[in-house]
């Protein structure tokens, strides 16, 4: 009997851990946050983009596979590894984003620049090649986006290879832009022979893009990639005098959200800590179970009840709350409408226990 119970438990746990969603949102983010000139601005880009990804998956209820690489991890070898190991189902969405240095060779034909992880020519990798590799994986929809210079360097060679506050999700706009579409979007922050500008609070293009996206979301306007990128282009020219270039090859699916009667919930990710928080938050779980999970989660993931948790707003720089791990988990376990989290920064002991974590919280409307 005991053996049967144990077997059943294992089957249930295995079943729970198997993705039961039909779509995965693969978010591949590379950010050159260590660069002495632009690193601080790029770090802001990464925080803002991570927050936006949190909003997207919360709204669309897609499973999130996040591949976030910054600092030393933002290098060509890591990029090639991630792209090589990327596995897509036909209904999946892939979102690739890069913020850092860029450039083009004198004889480059593509209108999109090369990503330059380091000053060395051998560390450069064409954006168009990233698009090509992802396209070969056959996701339903892909976005390849870069905030980087597109100016001509004599040194580069042609490569043959190729919110300050809380986030509140709405269904329809994100669904129509990221889920109910098929095809591709390719966009770079400047046209041939142009540099791209980094402001202290982030890249000009990234900031303009997220602002325009935010306007569509908050106004619940008709979502359209071409319109969104045209507005972004106009805003970027005005703000920083460089012109983003883009190609939109998108077939929209139904504009009716199939989920209008289904509550928005936090979605599982490939981050077990975030999954634990999502399960503890207001996602339809039993209230008593949520409260009972505080201590196990505390012991599993945190170094001590006094480990620090800081909650930041959608802009990634406005600190809303600073509390210890115990207080944080107790608050989450009894929260209302809190559905999802974005992990912006984490510090751990050698044993992998969290001593500090910086989060952004996402709420249901």
């Amino acid at each position: 009997m005991k053996a049967i119970k144990l077997l059943l438990t294992i089957i249930v746990i295995a079943g729970l851990s198997i993705k039961s969603h039909s779509q995965t949102f693969h978010a591949i983010v590379f950010a050159d946050t260590d660069d002495p000139k632009i690193g601080a601005s790029v770090k802001r880009d990464m925080e803002k983009i991570q927050n936006e990804i949190g909003m997207i998956v919360s709204s669309t209820r897609m499973w999130l596979n996040g591949y976030y690489h910054s600092g030393r991890e933002a290098n060509k070898e890591q990029l090639l590894t991630v792209l090589q190991n990327l596995r897509c189902e036909p209904e999946d969405v892939v979102f690739f984003y890069y913020s850092g240095h860029g450039g083009r060779a004198v004889d480059d034909r593509s209108k999109y620049p090369q990503i330059r992880f380091k000053a060395s020519d051998s560390e450069a990798y064409p954006m168009s090649k990233v698009d090509e590799v992802i396209a070969a994986k056959r996701p339903k929809f892909r976005i390849v986006m870069g905030d980087l210079c597109n100016s001509i360097s004599d040194y580069l060679s042609v490569k043959s290879e190729t919110g300050s506050g809380k986030s509140v999700v709405e269904n329809d706009v994100y669904e129509n832009l990221f889920k109910n579409v098929k095809g591709s979007v390719l966009v770079a922050s400047s046209k041939s022979n142009e540099t791209s500008i980094a402001f202290p609070d982030g890249g000009a293009f990234t900031t303009c893009f997220l602002n325009e996206l935010g306007r569509i979301v908050s106004g619940n306007q008709q979502a359209d990639w071409k319109v969104l990128l045209e507005k972004t282009q106009k805003a970027t020219v005005k703000a920083a005098n460089h012109t983003p270039v883009f190609e939109v090859n998108v077939n929209s699916g139904s504009s009716q959200s199939a989920s209008s009667s289904t509550p928005v919930t936090g979605q599982q990710t490939n981050n077990s800590f975030l999954n634990a928080l999502i399960n503890m938050a207001d996602n339809g779980g039993d209230r008593n179970q949520r409260v009972r999970s505080v201590q196990p989660v505390l012991h599993e993931y945190f170094d001590s009840p006094h480990s620090i948790v800081e909650i930041f707003g959608r802009d990634g720089k406005t600190r809303l709350v600073r509390e210890n791990a115990q207080e944080f988990l107790e608050r989450v376990s009894t929260s209302y409408k809190l559905i999802n989290f974005v992990e912006l920064d984490v510090k751990k002991t050698n044993g992998g226990k969290i001593t500090y974590v910086k989060l952004h919280e996402i709420y249901r409307k």
Binding site: K37, I38, S41, S99, G100, H101, G102, G103, V106, R116, A119, D121, D147, L148, C149, S151, I152, S153, D154, Y155, S189, S192, N193, T195, S196, I197, A198, F199, G203, A204, A240
Partner: protein, 182 residues
């Protein structure tokens, strides 16, 4: 007119003209040279009146045992002495404060990869001016210390470079793009 009357008239005229000149106006300080402001007084002095100026095409390859460097970068080609007529254009552009981008313009997301270097020499002092067209920045190296600054005179600098190197492939490519954008 008696001598006394003449002297009084002159003094009165002086008094009136001085009063007119000073009335409601403060004395304006002499503006500091843009080069001095951004790169220091010694650099400004050397750039203003060099005894000799040499030019080089640079490469971003790391220097080998055989290669020479200037301003910290490897020399691809030594262009020799530059005439005063030629380098005066560069002096003019450097000295104009309007050619320096204000901080509010932000930082360019590209590496500083100078294509041309100009070594200004005055006595024992040497100052190297670097032109990085790929990121629209110029840099000055003095005493092994480099200061970079984004510029706002890209077209003028390209034309200056084209004057020195009319057949250069890279310069011509950049100019072609500029002309296409007009």
């Amino acid at each position: 007119m008696t001598k006394k009357v003449f002297i009084k008239t002159v003094l009165f005229a002086l008094l009136v003209s001085t009063y007119s000149a000073c009335n409601g106006q403060t004395v304006k300080p002499i503006a500091k040279d843009a080069v001095a402001l951004h790169f220091g007084d010694t650099v400004a002095t050397v750039l203003a009146s060099p005894s000799k100026v040499r030019a080089y095409i640079l490469t971003m390859e790391k220097p080998t045992q055989k290669s020479r460097t200037v301003g910290g970068f490897t020399i691809k080609k030594n262009l020799g002495n530059v005439s005063a007529t030629a380098y005066s254009i560069l002096q003019f552009l450097l000295q104009d404060a309007a050619n320096y981008a204000p901080d509010s313009v932000g930082v360019h997301k590209c590496y500083f990869e100078p294509y041309l270097a100009f070594e200004f020499a005055k006595g024992r002092e040497k100052v190297c001016v670097l032109l990085a067209f790929n990121c629209e920045c110029w840099g000055v190296v003095y005493n092994d210390k480099r200061i970079e600054a984004p510029y706002l005179c890209h077209r003028q600098l390209l034309r200056f470079a084209h004057g020195l190197l009319p057949d250069d492939r890279y310069i011509n490519k950049l100019l072609t793009f500029m002309e296409d954008e007009k």
